[in-house]
C-alpha cells in the first residue's frame, strides 16, 4: 500500500504541476496542501517565531510557483521544494541580520514551553509534554550547531531522507553527506550534554 502510494505520488505531483502551469489555481492549492506540513516542519528548524515561519513557508511556495516551469520532471518535487525552503530560511535569517541562534521566539510558544517544562519535584510529565520538552531542547541544541551540520541532521533525522536525496538537495556528494552526518551527530551529542548535563548518562 505504502509502496503503491510512493509509486503513484510523483504522477500526481506531475499532474498537479502541469495543471498549475495551465492556470488551474485549485491544482496549485492542492499541491501546497500536500507539502505544507513538511515545509512547515522543515522551516521550523530555522526559526521558532510563528509569524516568521509562516512568511518563510509562504515565500517558499510563491518562489516555487514563479519557477514551476523550471522544475525538472525527473526529480522529486519534495526535494525541489525542500531546497527552496532551506535557501529561503537561510536568506530570511541573513536578511534580518541574525543567525538561527538569535531567532526571536514567539512569546506565546515560549511561555507554553516554559509552563510545560518539568522541574525536579514535579510528577513525571505525560508523554505529550515530554515530547514538547524534548522538541524544545532539540531545537535549542540544533540552533547552536553550524548551519551545514544542522541542515544535514534535519534532513536525515526529521525528514528521514535517504543520503542520495540529501546530497541532491544540498548539491554535495554522498560521501560528504556521510562525513557531515558523522560530525553533526557528534557535535549534537556534545552540545546537548554541555547544555543539559542531566542527559550525559543516557538521552
Amino acid at each position: 500500500m505504502a509502496l503503491q502510494a510512493m509509486q503513484t505520488a510523483p504522477k500526481e505531483d506531475l499532474s498537479l504541476v502541469e495543471e498549475t502551469l495551465a492556470g488551474n489555481q485549485l491544482a496549485f492549492q492542492l499541491l501546497v496542501e500536500r507539502y505544507q506540513g513538511r515545509m512547515f516542519a522543515l522551516a521550523r528548524h530555522y526559526t521558532r517565531n510563528t509569524a516568521e515561519l509562516e512568511d518563510i513557508v509562504q515565500d517558499t511556495f510563491l518562489k516555487a510557483f514563479t519557477h514551476l516551469s523550471s522544475f525538472e520532471r525527473q526529480s522529486s518535487l519534495y526535494t525541489w521544494l525542500a531546497r527552496i525552503a532551506i535557501n529561503t530560511s537561510l536568506d530570511f535569517l541573513k536578511r534580518h541580520g541574525r543567525s538561527p541562534v538569535q531567532a526571536v521566539e514567539d512569546l506565546e510558544v515560549v511561555q507554553g514551553f516554559e509552563r510545560s517544562r518539568p522541574n525536579s519535584h514535579s510528577p513525571a510529565p505525560d508523554s505529550r509534554l515530554e515530547r514538547e520538552e524534548i522538541a524544545r531542547i532539540t531545537q535549542e541544541v540544533l540552533a547552536e550547531l553550524p548551519e551545514i551540520f544542522r541542515t544535514v541532521l534535519v534532513l536525515r533525522e526529521f525528514e528521514d531522507l535517504p543520503y542520495q536525496e540529501i546530497a541532491d538537495i544540498l548539491g554535495i556528494s554522498i560521501g560528504t553527506v556521510e562525513s557531515r552526518l558523522f560530525r553533526a551527530r557528534a557535535r549534537f551529542r556534545d552540545k546537548l550534554v554541555h547544555l543539559h548535563p542531566e542527559f550525559e548518562h543516557g538521552l
Partner: protein, 170 residues
C-alpha cells in the same frame, strides 16, 4: 574480511541509517559483535536516533494557508499580466484622450518631417535642364556650324570697323 575500529566507527551511522550495502554491512556486523567499544558507539547512535524520533513534532499549517498562498500566487500572475497590458494600452477615458492626442501629434510630426526632407532634397539637387542625355531639341552639327559662322562674321565686321576708324584718325 575483517575491519578495524578506525574504519568501523565512521560506518556506524550509515549502518544505522540503512545506507550500507550488504557487502559493507556484513563485516561491520561481525566487528560489532567482537568489539565492545564500537558496539557501545552503535548503541549511542541508536539512542540518539530515538531521541530525534521522540523530538519530532507534528507541524500543522495554519487553517486556510494553502488557499491563501494559491490565491496570492495567481493574483500576482494576473497583476503581472495587467501591468503588461497597461504598458501598451490606456485604460481610463482621460488617459485614452491624451494617448490619442499624442498619437495624432506624432503622426503629424512624422508627415511634416517627411515633407521637409523632400523639399530639402529637391533644393539641394543641381539644375539639370539642358544636361539630360535624352533631350530631344539637341542642336545639330549644322546648327553649331551656322552659329559659329555668324559669330565669325560679327567678329570680321568688328575688325573692319576698327580698321576703318584707325585710317580715318590717321
Amino acid at each position: 574480511m575483517t575491519i578495524h575500529c578506525n574504519d568501523a566507527l565512521p560506518l556506524v551511522g550509515s549502518y544505522l541509517d540503512g545506507e550500507l550495502s550488504e557487502a559493507q554491512a556484513a563485516p561491520l556486523r561481525k566487528h560489532l559483535l567482537e568489539c565492545h567499544v564500537c558496539r557501545n558507539s552503535a548503541q549511542d547512535g541508536k539512542t540518539l536516533k530515538r531521541w530525534f524520533v521522540r523530538s519530532a513534532s507534528d507541524e500543522l499549517a495554519p487553517r486556510g494557508f494553502a488557499s491563501r498562498v494559491a490565491q496570492q500566487a495567481f493574483a500576482g500572475r494576473r497583476a503581472a499580466a495587467v501591468e503588461v497590458e497597461e504598458t501598451f494600452a490606456p485604460v481610463g477615458e482621460e488617459s485614452g484622450r491624451v494617448f490619442s492626442f499624442v498619437l495624432k501629434l506624432t503622426a503629424l510630426a512624422a508627415i511634416a518631417l517627411f515633407a521637409l526632407s523632400l523639399v530639402l532634397r529637391f533644393q539641394a539637387l543641381p539644375a539639370t535642364t539642358g544636361l539630360r542625355a535624352d533631350q530631344r531639341n539637341q542642336p545639330t552639327l549644322e546648327d553649331l556650324k551656322r552659329g559659329l559662322e555668324q559669330l565669325n562674321a560679327k567678329d570680321d565686321a568688328g575688325l573692319v570697323r576698327q580698321v576703318g576708324h584707325g585710317e580715318e584718325r590717321r
